[in-house]
C-alpha cells in the first residue's frame, strides 16, 4: 500500500516547491526574483543589509517584505539570513475586466421574454 500523502508528513517550509525545483535545474549564475517575507515587527533595514551582503539585489524594501533578485549560487545563503521567514515566487495577477459574452446576453434576453416583459431594443 502506498504511503499516505498527508498533512501529517507535510514539511513546514517557506520555500516554494517551484523554487526548489528551479534550484535543482538552474545554473549557478541564473537569477530569480523573489519576495522575502520578514517578521511583522522585525527590523527590515537590518535584514535588507544582510540580504545585500548575501548577494540579493533589492528592488524594494518594506516593513514586511523585500523584493529582490538573487543568483542561484547565492540563493541558499540568502534564505539563511536571520529574520527571513520564507520566500514567495512572483505570481502574475490578471486585470478584472470582463469580456462581454453575447451568448449570456441572448440568454437573458430570452429570459426576459419568457418572464413576460416585452423586449424593446430601444430600452435604455
Amino acid at each position: 500500500m502506498a504511503k499516505k500523502f498527508s498533512t501529517k508528513n507535510a514539511r513546514r517550509s517557506g520555500v516554494p516547491a517551484d523554487l526548489e525545483r528551479w534550484l535543482r535545474l538552474s545554473e549557478p549564475d541564473d537569477k530569480v526574483t523573489l519576495i522575502y517575507r520578514l517578521p511583522a515587527f522585525g527590523d527590515a533595514d537590518v535584514i535588507a543589509d544582510a540580504l545585500g551582503k548575501a548577494g540579493v539585489s533589492q528592488e524594494s524594501v518594506g516593513k514586511n517584505a523585500i523584493v529582490g533578485t538573487v543568483a542561484q549560487k547565492d540563493l541558499k545563503h540568502s534564505l539563511e539570513v536571520k529574520g527571513v521567514l520564507g520566500v514567495e515566487m512572483p505570481s502574475t495577477l490578471s486585470t478584472k475586466v470582463r469580456p462581454g459574452m453575447r451568448s449570456r446576453f441572448d440568454l437573458n434576453r430570452s429570459r426576459n421574454l419568457r418572464s413576460g416583459l416585452k423586449y424593446n431594443p430601444k430600452m435604455r
Binding site: T92, R98, R109
Partner: protein, 616 residues
C-alpha cells in the same frame, strides 16, 4: 430658448420658459430632476436648459417629434389599464411591472398623461441628466454629491493607478497643456540585465514625449489601465461637455505600467507611489487580482497592503469577476469522512490551490478521468489520462496546509477528482480554487460542485484594502447601441466576486457601477485595435465601454480621493466605516453586510453629506 429655474419651498423647482407663459413643475430627485405630471397644458415648447443652473440638466431641447422614455409610477393594480390608456396616446410600452410602466411616449402627447388618473408620477431618467454611461447619475449620486461641495475634484490628492499603464497622451490626463501624471513608471522584465526594472518618467519627460512619442514607452498597450484611470480621475477633456469625466477630475496621477502584472511590480508600485506622494494624501487603484495564495490576508502582497495603508494612504482593490465562474470549492470534511472534489480539465495545465486548516490531518488521492486512483508522492506521476504533480507543505506564516496540484492533460473537458480523507480533524474546512495560466479558461473548473462564495480574489482579501464589487448601472454598452444585454439596472453584476474570505473577513466592502462604463480609450492599444470593441467605441474613438469590477473599483478610488481632499488623514478603517454607514441599501442589495454587495451600493451624495456633517 433659455429658462429660469427657481426652487420653491415645497422642494419643487419652477421652470419659467422664456417667451412663454408655461410653467413646468419638476421635482428634485436624488441626483436629477423628475418631471411631475400633470404638466401644464398647452403647446409644449423646446427647452434649452442652462447647465449653469443645474448640472444634471445640461442636455438640451425636447424635440417634439421624439419619443420620450418615461417611467410611470402608477396606482397598484392599474398597470395594465395605464398601459392600454397610454398606448391609445401613441405610446410604445417597453415593460409593465408592479406599479411601474416603462414606455416611450410621444413628446407632444405628454400633456395628455394628465388625463390618466392612475398615473402618480412620470420620471424621465435619461434626457435630463448627464450620461448614465458614466454612472454619475442615479447609480452613484455623484453629481448630487458635487452639488453639495462643488469644489471637490481631488485637488491635492495623488491617485495612483497600477495596471497595464496609462495613455499619457490622452487628453483626459492633460490640463493646461501639461500632463496630469506627475510620474509614469514602467515595470518590466529587462532581458539585458536579466531582472525586472522600474523605469520612471517625470511629468516634464511626459510633456516632451507628447511632442516626440518615441522618447517614452507606450503608455498603455492594453487599454485597461487607461480606462480605470479615467474613471477615477479623467477630466473628460476629449468628450463633449466633458461628459465622460471621471470622479476626481483634478487629482494628480501617478501611473504604473506593469508588463505581466507581477505581484512584485504591484508591491514596488505601491511603495513608490506613496513615496512620491510624500506629505500629500494618496489613494491607489488596483483593478486586478488572482487566486493564488491563502485568501486570508497573509500573502506577501496582502501584507504589503496592510503595512503601507494608513492615514492618507488608501488602497482600493477589485473584488474580482469570478462570481459566476465556479472556481471555488468549499466543504467540511469530518473525522473519518472522505470528500471528493470533482474538477474539470479546462486548460493544458490545470491547477488546484487547496488549503487545509492547521491542526487537521488529512490525506489526498487523485482520481483521473479513467477512474484510476493514485496516491501523490510530490513528484511528477503519470497515468494513462495525463501527468500530475502534487505539493504539500505547511505555510510558515499562517501555519495552514497548502496542497497544490498541477495536472497536465491534453483531454480538456474531462473530469478528475481530488479525494480528501479526514484522518484526524479539528476544523475540517477545506477550500480549493481552480486556476489556469489563461484566466479566460478558468471557468467552471468545479462545475456543479463549485460555489459562488469565496470568489473574492487576492489581494482584495486583505482586510485593510477596500474591496469593490460591481452592480449594473446601465443596460447596454452604448446609449443607443445594438448590444442590449437584458441585465437589470441596480442588480448585482453576475460576475462580481462574492465573499467572504477564507478566514471569514467580510469582503467585498462595497459595490459600485461596473456594467457598462464608458471611459477613456488608450490609443493604439489592444482595445483600440480589437474588432470586438468596435461597436463600443465612441467620441472619435477616444472612449470605450467595458465592464468588470475593474471599472467599479476606480469609482470608489475617485470617491476616496474626494474624501481625502476634505480630510487628508482619513485611515482605511475610517473610510470603510463611512462607506459602510452611507452605502445605499435597497431591495436589490437586501440586508447588509452580505457576501454579494458587501455593505451596499456606493452613495456619493450620502458619503459627502456625512463627511460634511462630521468634519464641521
Amino acid at each position: 430658448m433659455e429658462t429660469r429655474m427657481s426652487k420653491l419651498d415645497s422642494g419643487l423647482y419652477e421652470l419659467n420658459v422664456e417667451n412663454s407663459s408655461e410653467q413646468l413643475l419638476i421635482s428634485e430627485g436624488n441626483s436629477h430632476l423628475d418631471i411631475v405630471v400633470p404638466l401644464e397644458k398647452g403647446d409644449t415648447k423646446s427647452l434649452s436648459l442652462d447647465p449653469a443652473e443645474h448640472r444634471q440638466m445640461r442636455t438640451t431641447a425636447f424635440d417634439l417629434s421624439n419619443m420620450v422614455s418615461l417611467k410611470l409610477v402608477v396606482a397598484p393594480g392599474t398597470e395594465d389599464q395605464v398601459a392600454t390608456a397610454i398606448s391609445d396616446l401613441g405610446a410604445e410600452i417597453t415593460s409593465v411591472g408592479r406599479e411601474v410602466v416603462v414606455a416611450e411616449v410621444p413628446h407632444n402627447r405628454l400633456g395628455d398623461l394628465e388625463a390618466v388618473d392612475e398615473i402618480r408620477r412620470a420620471e424621465e431618467a435619461v434626457k435630463l441628466q448627464a450620461n448614465l454611461i458614466d454612472a454619475r447619475g442615479d447609480a452613484t449620486l455623484l453629481d448630487a454629491a458635487l452639488d453639495i461641495r462643488a469644489d471637490l475634484n481631488g485637488t491635492g490628492v495623488v491617485v495612483g493607478v497600477i495596471d497595464t499603464g496609462i495613455d499619457w497622451s490622452h487628453p483626459d490626463f492633460i490640463k493646461d497643456d501639461k500632463s496630469r501624471l506627475e510620474m509614469f513608471i514602467h515595470s518590466h522584465y529587462d532581458e539585458a540585465s536579466d531582472r525586472h526594472v522600474h523605469e520612471e518618467f517625470s511629468q516634464a519627460q511626459i510633456d516632451m514625449a507628447r511632442q516626440n512619442p518615441g522618447d517614452m514607452p507606450q503608455g498603455d498597450p492594453n487599454g485597461h489601465g487607461t480606462h480605470c484611470a479615467s474613471i477615477a480621475a479623467g477630466n473628460g477633456a476629449a468628450s463633449a461637455n466633458t461628459d465622460y469625466r471621471g470622479v476626481a477630475t483634478n487629482a494628480t496621477l501617478v501611473g504604473v505600467r506593469s508588463d505581466g502584472l507581477f505581484d512584485t511590480h504591484i508591491i514596488n508600485g505601491i511603495r513608490r507611489i506613496f513615496e512620491i506622494a510624500g506629505d500629500r494624501p494618496a489613494v491607489i487603484n488596483l483593478s486586478l487580482g488572482g487566486h493564488w495564495g491563502p485568501h486570508d490576508g497573509t500573502s506577501a502582497i496582502e501584507n504589503v497592503i496592510a503595512q503601507e495603508s494608513g492615514p492618507g494612504r488608501i488602497i482600493v482593490v477589485a473584488a474580482g469577476n469570478e462570481g459566476s465562474d465556479r472556481i471555488h470549492f468549499g466543504a467540511k470534511v469530518g473525522q473519518g469522512e472522505t470528500i471528493e472534489i470533482p474538477f474539470t480539465i479546462r486548460d493544458a495545465l490545470q491547477r488546484l490551490n487547496v488549503w487545509v486548516p492547521r491542526g487537521d490531518e488529512v490525506s489526498f488521492e487523485i482520481v483521473d478521468h479513467n477512474g484510476d486512483v493514485t496516491v501523490p508522492n510530490g513528484e511528477v506521476q503519470e497515468t494513462d489520462a495525463g501527468a500530475f504533480r502534487a505539493d504539500l507543505r505547511q505555510d510558515p506564516i499562517n501555519r495552514d496546509f497548502n496542497f497544490i496540484l498541477a495536472v497536465a492533460s491534453s483531454q480538456r473537458g474531462r473530469r478528475w477528482i481530488l479525494r480528501i480523507h479526514g484522518d484526524d480533524i479539528t476544523d475540517g474546512s477545506i477550500h480549493a480554487w481552480g486556476l489556469t495560466d489563461n484566466p479566460n479558461l478558468a471557468r467552471n473548473i468545479f462545475m456543479t460542485a463549485g460555489t459562488r462564495s469565496h470568489s473574492v480574489g487576492m489581494p482584495a482579501t486583505e482586510e485593510r484594502a477596500i474591496a469593490v464589487g460591481s452592480f449594473v448601472s446601465r443596460e447596454s454598452f452604448l446609449r443607443d447601441g445594438a448590444e442590449q444585454s437584458g441585465v437589470t439596472a441596480g442588480a448585482l453584476s453576475s460576475f462580481s466576486s462574492r465573499g467572504p474570505t477564507r478566514n471569514g473577513a467580510q469582503k467585498p466592502d462595497i459595490c459600485a457601477p461596473g456594467e457598462f462604463i464608458g471611459a477613456a480609450l488608450s490609443s493604439n492599444s489592444e482595445m483600440a485595435n480589437n474588432a470586438r470593441f468596435a461597436n463600443r467605441r465612441f467620441e472619435g474613438d477616444k472612449y470605450v465601454s467595458i465592464q468588470g469590477t475593474s471599472m467599479a473599483t476606480p469609482f470608489v478610488t475617485g470617491m476616496i480621493a474626494l474624501m481625502l481632499q476634505m480630510e487628508p488623514n482619513l485611515t482605511p478603517e475610517e473610510i470603510k466605516k463611512m462607506l459602510r454607514v452611507t452605502a445605499r441599501r435597497d431591495a436589490q442589495t437586501g440586508g447588509v453586510w452580505n457576501r454579494n454587495f458587501g455593505y451596499g451600493k456606493l452613495d456619493a451624495e450620502a458619503l459627502i453629506s456625512y463627511l460634511e456633517r462630521n468634519l464641521a
